[in-house]
Subunit: 364 residues, 2 copies
């Protein structure tokens, strides 16, 4: 086994979710990630915890969803019971074919998110981690050889997370002190929102591996303006490009997309919360040096801002606020590398992708 | 997809476990069985039931067991919660390598059976089915090409289970009416036991697919004599050949094996119930025409008798008897094709593999 796989497992178990003796651990992944699943079972056994392995399989999901249809979907109460009885949850992505759900009607996929909401909420109430195995399907999506993609993935994962935490702390401090946020990019994005009283999280490789962002929740009603997400979004096997949203009083009042607008529309129609922002995130991981059309990595790049419609992460919602609730949570990315800036209470904290506390900010 | 896979899924879902609208269904299988898992998800969705897929993986099991060791094993309470919340359980076997557990100490494997007993009992209290996917590892064990093995497996599974039920009913009737059973084979097997007050089950493809046996529980203290299991046993990835047991007052008082005696010994040492018989089964499936070193098939052959040390199936234990309880249940087979007979209360009901109600019995 490639020694980087055991290292990956060790970071997940010891750093990301902190498995302890006696813990029940749920490992969910695809067959393509077999080596990492094996290494995780070993690491969990070493600690004296006990694993259950569930299979995520795009072909099986497609077959079930198409057969059941939107009206036939039921909440999996046995999956809920499993999640409730689990201490630590590890979710591995790694597709042989990232487009397995491309011929499932978007409204069926959206309905499944809605129906499964109690399961999602239970998982998010635990110590959980979402990570990536460098499978062939994801390598293809990134337009990379599988070997080069392995290097990319494991370089982004096997890093000094304490140093990364410290790098990000400068931005966490600024966001926690701020009220008004403004995101400007070219002629197509000028969005304002309040984060007053919200909590910014320093994502240093716990719930996402790789980590490398700071994120908070906008005050739901405060979002105003327009945004073009200039990077493509892969949602349940379908690519959405050129997604544009216009917000008034926090709600999406106009939307369009160049490709697969119906997918975007299905997401927005999931429930009322799906028309509001649940997350504002700022990428800060300088070791992720290229777009790979994979949100888990792209949103961490230092030259990006991302926003999610739908569910807010509870830990980002201040105690004087209600969280934005939704069955869905879909991230979309704005490229901030050129002709762009982030302002906090009128002060520019990032210009053309360079943060105010990084070298080169003056010239950016 | 090979149409026989959808047919296999249909038999499991509609005949074996009888999935109904609204059921929670647990599908457990290896990656090698992906096509069958996909077909099952489709069939479950068609009915309006909801699946969860868990992964069985020999490499992951080995990694966990070796890391944890016998002392580090814990009962997976989350797996128990999942099983308890499930209505219908489908377990698929199908190995890439049937010997993945060959370098795990037998006492660790036996301890896992003991620790996991609440999970096993919960599964057995549900509608469950154990079936086989024709994977390369099992084909290799059978010394067959994968394509020939596919034919063998699906021919044994896709049959008229109603007709098979009727064929077996003749033997069920005789066993239910009988008290004393005697099994004789060559110079090496002469075993007597009582089945008085026990219940014989007609295995027509419900809990095992393929089915094709009738089975009951011996009165635990009644077993006397000696038996040579002349067909090899694969237990947790290790082959045991030439296993011999001597019973007095129902208990194993002597045991030996030609190969891997330590595996046999570990099984017998699981707990006190592991030294008594929990099952007597008689194979009656004439469509299984060769040994494939796979208990699920071999024990169904018309020319065999099998006995299991360990746990009795509750449905075979009459109300005036206590079930033999154990964390383990290990089947072993006697070849009855030559110089052999089964007697019920002194009457010969099978001679050299031919039943009294089959053509050719007089000449057998």
């Amino acid at each position: 086994m490639d020694p980087r796989i055991r290292q990956h497992a060790s970071i997940i178990v010891n750093h990301s979710v902190g498995v302890e003796n006696g813990d029940t651990v749920l490992i969910t992944g695809p067959a393509a990630a077999e080596d990492l699943i094996v290494a995780l079972n070993e690491a969990v056994g070493d600690i004296g915890a006990v694993p259950v392995n569930t299979l995520s399989n795009g072909r099986a999901s497609r077959a079930y969803l198409k057969a059941a249809g939107a009206d036939g979907l039921e909440m999996p109460t046995h999956q809920l019971a499993l999640a409730e009885a689990t201490d630590k949850i590890i979710r591995i992505r790694g597709d042989s074919n990232v487009t397995e759900l491309s011929d499932v009607a978007p409204e069926i996929v959206a309905e499944q998110s809605r129906v499964n909401q109690p399961v999602s909420e239970t998982i998010m109430s635990k110590d959980w981690c979402l990570t990536q195995y460098p499978s062939s399907g994801n390598a293809q999506l990134a337009e990379m050889s599988t070997d080069a993609y392995q290097n990319f993935v494991w370089d982004a994962i096997d890093k000094d997370w304490e140093a990364q935490h410290d790098h990000q702390a400068a931005m966490v401090e600024r966001l926690n002190a701020a009220s008004a946020v403004r995101i400007v990019s070219g002629e197509t994005t000028d969005l304002t929102m309040s984060v007053e009283g919200m909590v910014t999280v320093n994502d240093d490789g716990h719930e996402n591996l790789p980590g490398g962002e700071v994120f908070t929740a906008p005050v739901p009603d405060s979002v105003e303006g327009e945004v073009l997400f200039d990077l493509p979004l892969y949602h349940q096997g379908q690519e959405v490009t050129g997604a544009q949203l216009v917000f008034e009083n926090g709600e999406v009042v106009e939307h369009e997309a160049e490709k697969n607008e119906s997918v975007l529309q299905s997401v927005l129609e999931t429930d009322p919360g799906a028309r509001r922002l649940g997350e504002l995130g700022i990428g800060m991981n300088r070791d992720i040096d290229r777009f790979t059309y994979n949100m888990l990595f792209d949103e961490k790049m230092g030259d990006t801002v991302h926003m999610a419609v739908g569910r807010a992460y509870p830990e980002t919602v201040g105690e004087d606020h209600e969280p934005n609730e939704s069955a869905t949570h879909v991230d979309m990315i704005v490229d901030m590398s050129e002709d762009s800036r982030i302002e906090l209470d009128g002060e520019i904290v990032q210009q053309n992708g360079t943060f105010v506390f990084e070298d080169g900010f003056e010239d950016a």
